[in-house]
């Protein structure tokens, strides 16, 4: 589904990604860990098409298409979703209004009919319940005045409504209380199936206790320096990244 090869990217002439390789197949969950500033969010944003980052080498194929030539909205319509580490506030635009516009933009791309208000309500209801989001939050302006945890749950909510093929969750668990981590995990579990894939960027084992990853990768200074199965996350938890640095360097 996603084939990242030797990806290099820079911001303001500073190289951040220095040759990332990553292969994700349908049905898989990948966890990406790594110290602060190692390039995890950069990787996520480059995959989503943020124009501040300049791709200087490598390739990204998504379902056989060259992702790097597509505009951000085209990637989204093809089924790439990014839950942001820092979701921005959009004053005056309600969550539901944005989601309706987004769902219909994606449906239009797939030559499907637009949905009406009643269909939307149905679509929202079960995900709202699962994520313990109440109606007032859904109707408020996007992320405005949301607590940190509400923002994260809202990102996962949007993922569930938009139902992408590839969901990249950038620290969907940071700043969440213990119950909220479980709630987010429930959402991801509900979302998962054999045809889609999830890439989770996280610093903690906690979320991975609930969503078992098929693979764990460590991103370090712009490269994936170690890949393994779920035990790798446990080892990292125990030893920190110095252990990797010492064993790899």
């Amino acid at each position: 589904m996603l084939e990242v090869k030797d990806l290099h990217a820079e911001v303001d002439c500073t190289p951040i990604l220095k040759g990332v390789n990553l292969s994700v197949r349908p049905g898989e969950v990948h966890a990406i860990m790594g110290p602060n500033g190692s390039g995890k969010s950069t990787l996520a944003q480059v995959l989503a098409g943020h124009e501040s980052f300049k791709v200087t080498g490598g390739s990204v194929a998504f379902d056989g298409k060259d992702l790097l030539t597509l505009a951000p909205e085209e990637r989204a319509r093809e089924g790439v979703f990014l839950a942001f580490q820092y979701p921005v506030e959009i004053p005056g635009v309600s969550n539901t209004y944005l989601l309706k516009a987004a769902v219909n933009a994606i449906r239009k791309h797939r030559n499907e009919d637009e949905l009406d208000a009643i269909d939307f309500l149905k679509m929202f209801k079960s995900s709202m319940k699962l994520l313990d989001l109440d109606e007032s939050l859904i109707n408020r302006p996007v992320n405005e005045g949301f607590s940190g945890g509400e923002k994260k749950r809202n990102e996962v909510f949007q993922m569930m409504v938009l139902n992408p093929k590839l969901a990249i969750l950038d620290e969907a668990d940071s700043g969440l209380d213990i119950d909220a981590v479980k709630i987010v995990a429930k959402g991801v579990a509900q979302f998962r199936n054999d045809n889609n894939a999830v890439v989770i960027v996280t610093h903690y084992q906690r979320l991975l206790d609930y969503i078992e990853p098929d693979f764990v990768h460590v991103l370090y200074d712009g490269r994936i320096v170690r890949s393994g199965v779920k035990d790798l996350a446990l080892e990292l938890e125990e030893h920190g990244y110095d252990w990797l640095k010492n064993s790899d360097a």
Binding site: E73, A76, L82, I90, G92, V93, A101, Q158, L162
Partner: protein, 492 residues
């Protein structure tokens, strides 16, 4: 205290600039000219022309005198230089002050309106034929200098509401005109108001009797068609005690290379307990992308609110090369309420100096000002507001909020708030913000699947929401569309 909080966008070139450059290509869609024979006065302005206009309209003596007094006063005045706008001096002798489409002397039904004119309004989306009329909205159509049609006249008459062209009202209700004309905006008020008082040709007149809630929205649609013609219309709305009315005003003009002058006067009178809601979607031709042509829109709008009356101005200004406009409320009676909600968009070389005046004279008077300025291209947008609390206006309160949004880095936003409070009990609050349309916000929306243009228009609509929600339904839709079109492709 006056301050110029000028904020120029930082000199950073980004992705958005290219898009802005591309988008500015967007064209004005209402720019066609209707080929119609017109009855026009010769160019220039002198006493003869004024007598000519008055005679054409067969006006009573009081009106001719009003015009002549205004003209005499205007000659003593000079064009104001204080607005934050720049343009070559206007040659007032090069303007035609009266142009009317040739038609039968008096129309008895819409069937007698020139089909070319009806077609013009259809093209503008304002059908005047009975069967196609906008449900629930009575329209007075003003073409160049005269009112050509008013719809739903009979329905309104049954409710006791008088609505129609100003010229007709002069003949049918001269006592009302004589009593109220110039009572809110005296002919000495300012340069353009004086000029208008001397040469105004037509406009709309509306009277809602005591205790009547007007059964439908009233609307005037202004269209400038003829070349080298100034449009000077006069609107007078009177809501008698306890009456209520919602009034809409829309405007467009053909694309022409020379600048055209539009200097209107609008007077609102809200008697005790009355409510007037006045909404404008102004879309005069803004000029081309090099800044050639376009309407100079120099307008005086003012309302008088008596005891417990309420006047609310809502405006969406996207057109005109230059806009100079300060809809105001004189809060004369105790407990009177004044509101001003405004969205002003300047793109390309457009300049807008707009805002409001709230003059608190009565006790416990309240006013609210919400102003949203959007600047794109090389647009310059200024908010100029005055809040004055007179010595007797105990417990007066005002809240002002002026937000500016910059799109690109060649535009500017300025705020000039003037606040004068006499006495210790007045409460005046002023908030101002300036933001640049955020790359991160755009990216967030695009990541959810919205095109760049939809994302931008969503952000702008969000920014203007507090104003749009004050507009009547159909108008809000139109305003959103208009804003979308005026900014087409302009953001990224």
């Amino acid at each position: 205290m006056a301050q110029d909080n000028a904020i120029q966008a930082p000199e950073v070139v980004s992705e958005s600039d290219e898009l802005i450059a591309r988008s500015i290509e967007q064209e004005y869609r209402w720019g066609f000219v209707t080929d119609i024979e017109a009855d026009a006065a010769p160019k220039g302005l002198n006493e003869e022309i004024i007598r000519f206009i008055s005679a054409k309209k067969n006006e009573p003596e009081f009106l001719l005198n009003f015009r002549l007094n205004s003209f005499a006063h205007w000659q003593t005045l000079e064009e104001p230089q204080w607005p934050h706008v720049h343009y070559a001096p206007i040659d007032f002798q090069e303007i035609i002050y009266y142009s009317a489409p040739k038609q039968k002397e008096k129309l008895t039904s819409l069937d007698e309106v020139d089909p070319e004119i009806l077609e013009t309004y259809e093209k503008l989306g304002i059908p005047l034929q009975e069967q196609k009329m906008l449900a629930g909205v009575a329209v007075d159509a003003v073409f160049d200098s005269v009112s050509v049609a008013t719809t739903f006249k009979e329905t309104l008459k049954d409710a006791g509401v008088i609505f129609g062209s100003f010229s007709e009202a002069v003949h049918e209700y001269p006592e009302l005109i004589e009593k109220y004309l110039g009572s809110v905006v005296p002919y000495r008020d300012n340069f353009y108001a004086s000029l208008n008082s001397a040469v105004f040709s037509d406009g709309s007149f509306c009277y809602i009797p005591k205790g009547v809630r007007c059964p439908m929205e009233l609307s005037t649609y202004f269209r400038i068609n003829a070349a080298e013609t100034g449009q000077f219309e006069r609107t007078l709305i009177i809501a008698d005690e306890g009456a209520q009315v919602s009034y809409l005003e829309g405007c467009t003009a053909p694309v022409r290379d020379e600048n055209q002058l539009h200097a209107a006067v609008v007077e609102l009178v809200a008697h005790k307990d009355a409510q007037i809601k006045y909404s404008t979607v102004q879309n005069w031709y803004p000029g081309n992308k090099e800044g050639k042509g376009g309407i100079y829109n120099f307008v005086t709008k003012r309302g008088r609110a008596d005891e417990s009356a309420k006047i609310s101005w809502t405006q969406v200004e996207t057109g005109s090369a230059i806009t100079w406009k300060y809809p105001s409320v004189i809060l004369r009676g105790d407990n009177a309420v004044g509101e001003f909600y405004s969205v002003a968009l300047t793109n390309n070389h457009q300049q807008a100096d707009t805002g409001t005046k709230m003059v608190h004279l009565g006790r416990n008077t309240r006013s609210t000002i919400i102003s949203k300025g959007i600047s794109a291209g090389q647009g310059q947008n200024s908010y100029r507001g005055l809040v004055r609390v007179a010595p007797g206006a105990t417990n007066a309160r005002n809240y002002s909020q002026c937000d500016s949004m910059l799109i690109g880095d060649k535009c500017g936003a300025h705020t000039f708030p003037h606040i004068e409070v006499a006495g210790p009990t007045g409460q005046v609050e002023h908030e101002a913000t300036t933001s640049k349309i955020g790359e991160d916000q755009l990216f967030y929306l695009r990541q959810r699947g919205l095109s760049e243009e939809d994302a931008a228009s969503m952000l702008i609509n969000g920014f203007c929401k507090e104003v749009f929600r004050e507009l009547p339904m159909e108008f809000a839709v139109e305003a959103r569309k208009l804003l979308g079109i005026s900014l087409e492709g302009n953001v990224g």
